[in-house]
Symmetry: C2
Subunit: 586 residues, 2 copies
């Protein structure tokens, strides 16, 4: 919100001086209200658009040279953590692509650090030029029994719901909880609803009467649609549908047939999860706009889905359009084939040029960062090899099998060869991998063990990562115990991150010093480290080309996606919704 005294000050200033700060002439101005581009000037004073007067004096006059002048884009739903960058670095990365506002759900860091993690995100983001509106994570942990770093109830979220940067409740993934009217779940929705704040949703495959109930319960958005029918079912019920284009999920093009002159108002663009290397390479929401236009959407319509529609949905009144009273945050862009702004303005200041962040403004390292770096509570240095013993007396094991290009797994019952004590031995089970999930938040000492089918393909080493949805314990996998233990020790030394080891040596690593999820390094550095990790995965480990080496591991610990997952408490059969033994006879 813009305080009215600021508007008064601007009006007074213009009246007194008959001069404004900035006039941009000769632009093709995106008019999201009339659905056209019109040629003209945009006048800016003290960071606010004050009109279209071509004749007013200005301290600075810029010739747009017939470029399009477009409001900065919104990301309708994003987990900043998925970029692997701190909020400040994320800001500096996405701003040059024309992103000015994001609706962020700090779900990942909340699973590690609870309210402190959310506060850290809010405070860090505040120091950047990116406008970050926060949705409070609704499902921490993802399931009640999980070993997450925090357990957030409505009374916890209540501490932050009235924060001026908090716009509502984050994606309500607990669909059964909503439908069964779980009191704790509805309390969280009530927290946002009673303040007329937004409640985001997450409801793949839901339809009919169940979808009615989910909407009745107060959920207003969904970014999980993958079919036109799903999108239409939700729009019909007044929901906002996010057309997602992220690193892993590419739903935008599939959903475009749902966009027409009526439904467009309820269609928003989002990335959800987009990793920094992808952003560097392909862009951010501007890439979604480009893709929409390339697939037949009128540029002004694509712009609407990336600007005013998000602003309207989330009640952000002073943004998303080029009009008097709106924030002077816009970009100049030559064409929509590339959709790459050559100049990005925030509050009237040029902050990025030709893809480079040029603002003098750089966020100070956040004071709270120090507490967040120490996210590893359990000392990996003391884990004994005995902890990795996997006993399967019946010699029939439940093995996790990764499916191609999917986060789903299959539970495969396989014969395994053991030693005399009934313990799994690598040598006699060619290619089969051990998998461990090690609790890292509360020094519980819990280690869950499992077997991963050889198809995943890791050879001669181990990978450990502190990104493991949603509780973000440590997932480690390898083809020998020594490397598994070494990887755990190394990941602890880094203070969290991803490490790849082989025969007692580190082959590649990426330190994620903020909660084991994000790096405070430069995006380019993080992207470079990631590239090296992928190179090792491919060339040294020979990991299956139908799996993403790291994301596959990261989701093996999430006990809400079928079939078989591993938690610090052991194997979990998601379909049957209970823990199972590694020994298939049990």
């Amino acid at each position: 919100m813009i305080e009215y005294k600021k508007i008064q000050k601007i009006m007074q200033d213009i009246k007194n001086s008959q001069e404004i700060d900035l006039r941009i002439d000769n632009a093709k101005i995106a008019d999201v209200y009339r659905g056209i581009f019109f040629e003209g000037s945009v006048c800016v004073h003290q960071g606010i658009i004050v009109g279209f007067n071509q004749e007013i004096q200005a301290k600075q006059v810029i010739d747009a040279k017939q470029a399009y002048l477009v409001p900065n884009f919104f990301d309708g739903h994003v987990h900043i953590e998925s970029s692997m960058l701190s909020p400040e670095k994320f800001a500096e990365l996405v701003i040059p692509f024309g992103t000015g506002t994001v609706i962020a759900d700090p779900h990942e860091i909340a699973n590690v650090k609870g309210l402190d993690g959310i506060r850290f995100m809010i405070e860090s983001a505040k120091q950047s030029l990116l406008d970050v509106k926060f949705m409070l994570p609704s499902c921490v942990p993802a399931l009640p029994f999980e070993d997450a770093g925090a357990n957030l109830f409505a009374q916890d979220l209540a501490e932050l719901i009235d924060n001026e940067n908090v716009y509502g409740l984050g994606e309500m993934m607990n669909v059964p909880g909503v439908l069964m009217q779980d009191e704790a779940v509805l309390e969280k929705i009530a927290l946002a609803s009673n303040r007329q704040k937004m409640v985001d949703g997450h409801s793949p495959n839901l339809d009919g009467a169940a979808l009615d109930m989910y909407v009745l319960a107060g959920v207003r958005t969904d970014h999980e649609c993958t079919t036109v029918q799903e999108a239409m079912d939700r729009i019909q019920r007044g929901m906002y549908v996010m057309l997602r284009e992220g690193s892993a999920a590419h739903d935008l093009v599939n959903l475009l047939p749902a966009v027409n002159s009526h439904t467009i108002k309820n269609c928003l663009l989002c990335t959800d999860d987009k990793q920094c290397a992808d952003i560097l390479q392909r862009g951010h929401i501007n890439d979604s706009v480009r893709l929409a236009v390339a697939n037949g959407i009128e540029p002004i319509d694509a712009i609407k889905m990336a600007t005013i529609n998000v602003a309207d949905a989330y009640g952000i009144k002073h943004k998303g359009a080029i009009a008097p009273g709106k924030e002077a945050s816009f970009m100049l862009i030559k064409d929509f084939e590339n959709c790459m702004p050559h100049a990005v303005y925030i509050k009237g200041n040029l902050v990025a040029e030709n893809g480079k962040y040029i603002a003098n403004h750089h966020a100070e390292p956040n004071a709270k960062l120090t507490t967040l770096t120490h996210s590893m509570q359990e000392s990996m240095q003391t884990i004994l090899p005995e902890k990795l013993l996997l006993t399967i007396p019946s010699k029939k094991a439940r093995v996790i099998r990764v499916l191609p290009h999917s986060l789903l797994t299959k539970c495969e019952i396989m014969d395994v060869i053991t030693d005399e004590q009934g313990n799994f031995v690598f040598e006699k089970n060619k290619g089969m991998l051990k998998l461990a999930v090690v609790e890292r938040h509360k020094k519980t000492g819990k280690i869950g063990l499992g077997l991963l089918h050889s198809e995943y393909g890791l050879q001669n080493g181990a990978i450990a990562t502190t990104i493991s949805h949603d509780s973000h314990n440590i997932v480690v996998s390898g083809d020998n115990d020594a490397d598994i233990l070494f990887a755990l020790q190394e990941v602890e030394k880094m203070g969290g991150g991803i490490v790849m080891v082989s025969q007692g040596k580190v082959l590649a690593k990426l330190a994620l010093n903020i909660g084991g999820l994000m790096s405070s390094a430069e995006p380019q550095e993080v992207a470079k480290a990631l590239k090296e990790l992928y190179a090792v995965a491919k060339e040294h480990y020979k990991i299956w080309d139908k799996a993403d080496a790291f994301m596959t591991l990261s989701f093996l610990a999430l006990p809400v996606i079928p079939d078989l997952k591993l938690t610090p408490q052991g194997l979990f059969d998601v379909t049957k919704f209970h823990f199972v033994d590694i020994d298939a006879s049990k």
Copy 2:
């Protein structure tokens, strides 16, 4: 806003009983989100739409017989006072036409009774089934020097701005005040803006840089557009444009070319001023919808302008569409040629059928009514004939000339014949009428006198009315002093209203017991009385057929419409913006 505990109760109830209150089958459901009508059922429980499940058990099942099921209409901007009915009676009148929500600006009663008048409207409306959202009148009085019943500053409005039924600031007519940055004016806008509440506008003919400033200042709507260009200029700047169709102003059809698939989101329907006899005869917002459809707008688009677009503009989240979680307030309608609902539901209850209000709910007479009836402070019984003497020594007078079908007047300099004392005499100035505006709010004793050109045509009598915009003093006109005085006495006896007298007898009258503006009688009675008044105007008085006998008089006291107007302080030259003498030589 619907409290979340109500939603929880509904969900719980359905879960426990597997039964709902009401299911309407076989309807063509207006889907304002997808822009279509779809065939199906609508499920209602405890006044809320809970979904489209055709199979759920219901206590009551209604066959819509393929009728359209449409959300109840919104009137985007209305002065209820112009209906001449109390809020409760207005509610019972418009509900059968499918109006469920109105955005009301109690500007007229506020000019008479100030905050008490507004509170009366809010409290009265609350007792009706109509949902009335209030905008606080921004311009009371219309001009600072006026003899209105109240003078409302920002600090006065502050008492009501946080009322749950107050949605913002009413039409900001003081355009020069905004543009000149009058502190008192901007303070009022700040009051609404700083709470993210709406600020309504009123800016005929404004364009370019001045319009930019008006929008920058925070004004968000306009219902005064008469041309497509005006509408487009405002939509371009993000304003909401109201397509007005009232008793006097018929702008809707002219503005329809401004409505397209992009702009429609910013287009709303409103009546502004519609008198009860017109509503009875032609309908309310349903008549606007009918007219739009008759002029080529798709029915679903016309419905959007009358429902969801208004709800969105004013941030009314639980209305304006048929979707889970929305209030079960809708109508059944057979066709859009007549656009007359045969059944109207509010919160799940049938409240009107075939044009008849059938709800058992009738508002109790408002306790505050008694104070409002005594709006006449000056005793007319004591006015001496001498007070009506009109001295014009130069025998050249400034005469008000009414223009055909217009609220504008002309200042005509005319020769008049006087007696020896220089006083105007009726007998020798054939057809010329005396006009007086008598202050009625604060016992100031002020009487402004003027002359009305014979074209208006009142013969053999006098008319007095307490409706006289915007200060609502008494306007009286006649062709002899005795009837003028008698009319003043009679209008006082009634406690306000309209009275027509001739030779000491009352020919027709309409008592407006609430502030001299509204009647607490039944709409049919008021309409009947009005009809009689018009008959007398035509048959007895022979009033000009190019003037509305009463509205013409009512606007002769409004010193913001050019050229020459009359106030209790005397003649006012609106163009020169100062008082002038009746004697043209002065």
